[in-house]
């Protein structure tokens, strides 16, 4: 494979339409569609006594009002539990419209369809729902006590309980190893909720074609193929009669992998029933109270270690708040429990989590998906060990690293894909060396002393992570070369800004030896590719990237076979460059890939000049064989799938220097450095963009973002005025360095990069604040007023 395009900072092909206002997001489509709006529960926990729609029916432009009672079989059933797990003994999902009980503020109760959204909201505002209040269950620990229940039939509000234990080499359990260790520590950590918060909310637009009885759905989703299957099943339609398209999507970050959302079922259903186009566009308040959140956990840690800081035993108990429902199973706490181990070889490990129902918005993966909490736990532990022993924090980490010669390294746990947690490759000591150099770790003591002399308080922090990326089960790619020489690539997974059209084109152009501008890429459109899993878990480049490469290799082999016949050469002597197939070392003997595409499809009818070459009297064909040989197919195209035996493990280390204001306790990040290893880079510009965005979300999670629920289960900060996402003024300049340890698991040697940036940020910032202030930081995010309070407590 030539590396001309693979690995280059190629500018994005998505950009032109997006910078000229020609992007096509869901709400940009269906200008004449009817609009849907929802009456949502204002209460966290209540029984619906009555729904009175009489005042709404006179609203001009009203088309329909639906409650749960109006929904037919299957549509009215609870939404699917997407990822069952034996430990999820009490999984519960919501009805698409509430049936009898509402379990969080924002749960949809009534659907209204009207001529436009203003009118739909007018009608929704006039619908009276009579509620009988039930006791709201809010707060993880309160919920875990089980005094009041979110679901009547789930005792203790306990949805799932899972213990994983890996004994030490000598067979000791973690608790035993901790007892026997020379040093032990025990502490508690808290991590608040945040949310993906893409700037485009969710949205669904459905067109029912009554003539051919087919349905086309556009959804702002991270998985169009799976939405398609869910919609077909719910509506009882044959799968081929349903197509789902994820058009331009304005960010996902995890929340849009959940499906089918109530609206993804109800909007297509209403479109079918009414025989009209129907569209629903989520507004920002709806997104806060009816989509999904993540992160909230309480962790209890016990650790035993030796005099050099080597961990002999680690015992972590996690309370995980999964909100009112569990449509996405227990993926988040499983990832916390497993990825907590990071780049470290731990003597013995025991992890136990309880996943708890509360009357709050459901919890499903948000970029990082449980890892920020796990890394916070492990890295805070490393810092505590270093403090306890008076050792350098980087040295304690180094003493625990898995070494480059140890791969593949089996952590002895089961990962989120149900497969063993075996790290494929990495070089953690080199990564540490690079981050220390980049941030100036060894010279920091002098810098800190200098600052102190000026009356300034600064601190440095470090955080390491390992991220399982590219989880299965599979993705596919289809590649077609048409007779104009253009290359059409499609893959089923979706895009939300990651630059897939660019990087997949780079892969295809490199594999096929064609100029980049001949390649076009379509993602997330079931009309083009029906089999896919979706975009999540930093998997798109690994999964679809490799599938497309494999499909290209099939096409290339076929092109060489056909070209060899036309050039009377041995296919092994042929190469493709710049769209021309030629005999190596003989530039005169060549044939355009476009012509090969013509010849690949034996024709009766010449639809243009070029096509004449493939018609039956052109004399090109052998008279001894059928025009399409056995085992061959017409057309220069290929399809292939990539299905890995297990995930590939990216890694990285971040470091930051912060300054805290002695008076106001304001926390300012002075420097932020990232060393990142996602194997071979397809496009460093895009990888760096992913890192920047991830770090920015991490900074939000560390210093600003939290979901503030009151005791009644009201989300008090459900707007951008009150939920503080970082602006340009809050995000530091991010210095990045790449390490490339190829993955041995896939043909391209790549690992995922999408989530990485966000993962260790809270751990790093906590460590830096702790270093600056000399005060233990055990909960994130931290605001200036909280830091001020901690200072007060430390001196009292």
């Amino acid at each position: 494979m030539t590396t001309k395009l693979f690995g280059e900072r190629v500018q994005r092909r998505e950009d032109l339409r997006l910078i000229t206002g020609q992007g096509r997001y869901v709400d940009d489509l269906g200008r004449d569609a009817l609009a849907a709006a929802f009456v949502r529960s204002p209460h966290a926990h209540a029984r619906i006594r009555d729904i009175d729609v009489s005042a709404a029916v006179d609203v001009d432009g009203l088309v329909a009002i639906y409650t749960w009672e109006d929904l037919p079989e299957r549509v009215r059933d609870p939404l699917p539990l997407l990822i069952p797990h034996p430990a999820l003994t009490h999984g519960r999902t919501a009805y698409p419209l509430a049936r009898d009980i509402v379990r969080h503020v924002g749960e949809p109760v009534v659907m209204v369809v009207a001529r436009d959204r203003y009118l739909a909201e007018d009608a929704a505002a006039l619908i009276e729902v009579d509620y009988e209040f039930l006791k709201p269950v809010v707060g993880i620990e309160e919920a875990a006590q089980g005094a009041h229940l979110v679901h009547e039939d789930v005792p203790g509000n306990l949805g799932a309980h899972l213990v994983q234990e890996v004994p030490s080499a000598s067979g000791a359990g973690a608790r035993e190893a901790i007892e026997a260790a020379p040093h032990t520590l025990a502490f508690r950590l808290d991590f608040e909720r945040s949310a993906s918060m893409p700037l485009e909310g969710r949205g669904v637009y459905a067109r029912w074609d009554p003539d051919d009885r087919s349905l086309r759905v556009y959804s702002s989703t991270q998985t169009s193929t799976s939405v398609r299957m869910a919609v077909a099943a719910k509506l009882g339609l044959p799968l081929p009669s349903v197509e789902v398209i994820a058009p331009d999507v304005g960010g996902g970050f995890g929340v849009k992998i959940v499906h089918p959302w109530p609206e993804e079922v109800l909007v297509p259903w209403a479109a079918m029933l009414l025989g009209r186009e129907v569209k629903w566009t989520e507004d920002r308040r709806e997104h806060f109270i009816s989509s999904a959140h993540e992160r909230g956990q309480v962790q209890h840690v016990r650790v035993g270690f030796d005099g050099e800081g080597r961990i002999l035993g680690l015992d972590v108990t996690i309370l995980h708040d999964h909100g009112a429902y569990t449509p996405y199973g227990i993926i988040v706490p499983i990832i916390t429990a497993t990825q907590l181990l990071g780049p470290y070889r731990i003597g013995a490990y025991r992890v136990e989590f309880s996943s708890i129902y509360t009357n709050t918005v459901q919890v499903t993966p948000y970029r990082g998906a449980g890892r920020p909490q796990g890394v916070f736990c492990m890295e805070r532990t490393m810092d505590r060990i270093a403090a306890h022993l008076g050792l350098d924090r980087a040295d304690v980490r180094a003493a625990n690293f898995i070494q480059p010669g140890d791969f593949p390294y089996d952590q002895g746990l089961i990962f989120q894909d149900g497969r063993p947690l075996i790290y494929d490759s990495g070089d953690y000591p080199e990564s540490l060396r690079m981050i220390k150099e980049l941030i100036g770790w060894d010279g920091f003591a002098a810098l800190k002393a200098e600052a102190a002399a000026e009356g300034r308080t600064i601190g440095i922090g470090l955080g390491c992570y390992v991220e399982g990326t590219g989880v299965g089960p599979y993705e596919g790619g289809h590649v077609q070369v048409t007779s104009d020489g253009r290359v059409h690539v499609s893959t089923g997974l979706t895009s939300q800004g990651q630059g897939h059209e660019t990087v997949f084109a780079q892969i295809a152009a490199t594999e096929l030896g064609v100029p980049l501008d001949r390649v076009s890429v379509v993602t997330g459109d079931t009309r083009r590719f029906g089999y896919a899993v979706g975009t999540f878990a930093s998997r798109a480049a690994v999964m679809s990237g490799n599938a497309i490469a494999l499909a290209c290799r099939k096409v290339r082999d076929k092109a060489l076979r056909i070209a060899a016949e036309a050039l009377e050469a041995d296919p092994r002597d042929l190469e493709i460059e710049d769209g021309m197939v030629r005999v190596a070392g003989n530039p005169g003997a060549s044939i355009a890939l476009a012509t090969v595409a013509v010849l690949s499809n034996p024709l009766r009818y010449a639809f243009d000049e070029e096509a004449k070459r493939a018609t039956q009297f052109s004399g090109a064909a052998s008279m001894d064989r059928p025009p399409v040989a056995e085992g061959e197919e017409p057309g220069l195209e290929g399809r292939d799938y990539y299905s890995p035996v297990r995930s590939t493990f990216a890694s990285g280390m971040h470091a930051a220097i912060v300054e805290t204001d002695p008076d106001t306790a304001e926390i300012k990040i002075l420097r932020y450095a990232v060393v990142h290893d996602c194997g071979r880079l397809i496009n460093p510009m895009i990888v760096e963009g992913q890192i920047h965005g991830g770090v920015a979300q991490g900074v939000g999670g560390a210093l600003y973002e939290r979901m503030v629920y009151d005791a009644h289960g009201q989300l008090l900060n459900a707007s951008f005025m009150d939920f503080l996402m970082p602006y340009a003024t809050e995000v530091p300049f991010i210095e990045t360095a790449h390490l490339e340890t190829p993955s041995p698991l896939n043909p391209l040697g790549i690992k995922g990069a999408g989530e990485a940036g966000v993962i260790p940020v809270s751990a790093v910032i906590a460590a830096a604040i702790e270093d600056a202030e000399g005060i233990t930081i055990d909960r994130m995010p931290i605001s200036p007023s909280e830091l001020h309070e901690l200072r007060g407590r430390a001196t009292s």
Binding site: G21, Y25, L199, D248, F253, F720, M721, Y727
Partner: protein, 170 residues
């Protein structure tokens, strides 16, 4: 989108005339129709995006008589007779990209692209008023727009790059 309490059974429509991207456009809108909705749904200019409906995210920023405004906080009837520039109007008459548009692409200053139209409008006005902003002025100048994808670093870079391109062309 917000309702204003009890609706009229049938809303009165107002005829308004806007000059949008240099073209005179007429629309009949209810008094409560937001400029963002008018641009997107009445006039079909869907490049202007709505991210929060309460004036915080800046996705809906357009230029009103040259100055950036939140079109989600502006009633369409209140700008009757005024000039509006949306992202669709930033390119030249032959479709050639403006320096700001080119710089955003060149510097990878966009990912999902949803906030991008608001940034492009904001930055276009910023550089018109201050053709060579300092780093602090750039950060300050874009600090009313949220982006959830890029971490802003490449947006800041793009603003400087656009200033450079404009300087070269001047």
């Amino acid at each position: 989108m917000k309702t204003d309490g009890r609706p009229a059974v049938s809303e009165a429509l107002h005829e308004i005339t806007l000059t949008v991207n240099g073209v005179v456009r007429e629309a009949k809108v209810p008094g409560r129709r937001l400029l963002s909705d008018c641009l997107r749904h009445e006039l079909g200019l869907t490049g202007t995006h709505v991210g929060c409906e309460h004036g915080v995210c800046g996705c809906c920023t357009v230029l009103l008589d040259g100055d950036p405004v939140r079109s989600c906080l502006t009633f369409a009837v209140s700008v009757d007779g005024h000039e509006i520039t949306t992202v669709e109007g930033l390119s030249g008459p032959g479709g050639e990209l403006s320096p700001v548009q080119r710089a955003f692409s060149e510097c990878h200053a966009l990912q999902c692209g949803f906030c991008t139209p608001g940034f492009l409008c904001t930055v276009t006005a910023l550089l018109r008023d201050n053709p060579a902003p300092t780093e602090d002025e750039v950060v300050e100048g874009i600090s009313g727009n949220l982006c959830r994808c890029t971490g802003y670093q490449n947006i800041v870079k793009a603003v400087h790059r656009a200033a450079e391109l404009m300087g070269d062309e001047a």
